[in-house]
Amino acid sequence: MDAAVVLALRNVTKAFSGLKVVTDVSFDVREGQRTALIGPNGAGKTTVFNLISGAYSADRGAILLQGTDIAAKRPGERTVMGLARSFQNIRLMPHLSVVENVMVGQHARTRGMMDLLTPLWLKRNRAWRDEAESQLRAFGLGTYPNEVTANLPYGIRKKIEVVRALMSHPKVLLLDEPAAGLNTRETGDLKDFLMGVAEHGVTLLIVEHDMSLVRSLCEHTIVLNFGLKIYDGPTASVQEDPAVLEAYLGPRHNAA
């Protein structure tokens, strides 16, 4: 039996100054599944993420999170409802320390004025910092909690962003090229970590160019090309699909 659909796009379209960047895209992401969203440069993958997270509003179409249309909701509301994301170009707060950045990710879970206006070192608030630090340790980032993020290497900042995204306890986690800039060993660690995240019930939707990561991590793959969905099926057979081969390698390869 198929798992429930947790995130669905229905005929989502987005144009920038008349130029369609995402055209009539529909797909389902199933609960607990690890889904890859791939495609050549400029295919519209990041734009799809921006539409789902609310950074852009769709011109047309519905975005359903657990059956509720969130297309008109503000980005923060979508996070409260269970969406989280990382960014292709890292967007950490440069003047905040590592643990503070991660704690910003917890904001969607705060309730009421007492959470906002009591010092974070009070006993009642200790759990926030403890959680942030233990998540950082779980990702092998325990050595840096009080460093300012601006000074840290790219690969480390990339991972901190993933930890921050997890801090809202999302149902669906969108990661935009999490392995870009990581070396083979780091990518292997990332894969293990994301497997663990998925086992805790978080549904993953991942934009990634590293096909070996996609093959080893994601059972399901969606391919975009020029804003159109051209493939939606098992990762195992994506590289035999003629439309996908043509999109990546050009028509000549397909003929050969």
Binding site: G76, F87, R91, M93, H95, L96, H107, L120
Partner: protein, 295 residues
């Protein structure tokens, strides 16, 4: 002699309160070039209430702070949509508006100023400055303080994380207005006289400089900035007065501004993020902790 030091301590205390009044909006990424105008609102509110009605000092002070806080709230709601240089200009325009109103309203003494019947000594002012200092430090250690700093660094991502960016900015700006109003009320009670020239745009510029040169990343920056810009000019005046002989009297004000200008430019080049930065502070504390191990 103690009168002079007393006066210096009061001016320093008022400048510290004002520096934190400007720091709060700046910490959310909103430059405020109207700090002295909010102080003027507080000072004139205190002067007006104490001459017209009279009331216990704490009550007058609370009303003055509420009036400037309320004005800051209304202003924030309308101008915080603007960003960057436009916001700076909007706060500057507001300051001009306040000066214009004061000069043209007879009940506020116009250009002649107002005498203030009530008096408060230096002690309470210094205590209140201490309370403000501790209060802002505590506030910055709350999740609201974290939200302010996140908003400063990246308001789009802050919004995505569920932070009410607009609410955070309006609250910080309003709280800044309240603090400036308190500083204004205290000024009126200490000097027993208010005139509009005291709260001119140069004062607003200085307040913003305290904060920017001290550093906006940590809560210590405004304190360092206010202390530096209050004490150094006085030291300098003292030095010039003792060296220059007869002509020193004319020289000192103009030279003070020139030297201060040079110091400002040098600091901006050398430490564009302010004197106190998070990395600098961390290194300082880290070194101190590491010191015994090395010995």
């Amino acid at each position: 002699m103690s009168g002079y030091l007393d006066g210096m301590a009061v001016i320093l205390a008022l400048n510290v309160i004002l520096a934190y009044a400007v720091f709060l909006p700046v910490a959310t990424g909103q430059l405020n070039l109207g700090g002295a105008a909010f102080q003027a609102v507080g000072a004139y509110a205190a002067a007006y209430i104490s001459t017209q009605y009279g009331a216990p000092l704490p009550v007058i002070l609370a009303v003055s702070a509420s009036v400037s806080g309320l004005i800051a709230f209304v202003l924030a709601l309308s101008i915080l949509r603007t960003k960057g240089v436009y916001l700076v200009l909007a706060t500057f325009a507001f300051a001009q508006f306040v000066s214009g109103v004061i000069i043209n309203v007879d009940a506020l003494g116009g250009a002649l100023g107002m005498t203030v019947p009530e008096h408060v000594g230096g002690g309470p002012i210094i205590v209140i400055a201490g309370v403000v200092l501790v209060g802002v430090m505590l506030l910055m250690q709350t999740r609201f303080g974290l939200a302010m700093r996140a908003t400063h660094d990246d308001d789009t991502v802050a919004e995505l994380m569920g932070i009410g960016v607009r609410r955070t900015r309006v609250a910080a700006f309003t709280l800044g207005g309240v603090l400036a109003g308190i500083a204004g009320g205290l000024y009126a009670f200490y000097f027993n006289f208010v005139e509009v020239q005291t709260f001119d745009s140069l004062s607003s510029i200085y307040l913003l400089l305290f904060v920017l040169l001290g550093g906006t990343q940590t809560v210590w920056g405004p304190l360092i900035g206010a202390a530096f810009f209050t004490i150094v000019p006085e030291l300098f005046r003292y030095v010039v007065a003792n060296m220059g002989g007869a002509s020193a009297g004319q020289l000192d004000t103009s030279w003070r501004f020139i030297i201060l200008g040079i110091i400002t430019v040098v600091m901006m080049v050398a430490r564009p993020e302010g004197v106190v930065t998070r990395t600098g502070l961390g290194r300082l504390l880290g070194n101190r902790r590491a010191a015994p191990r090395e010995a």
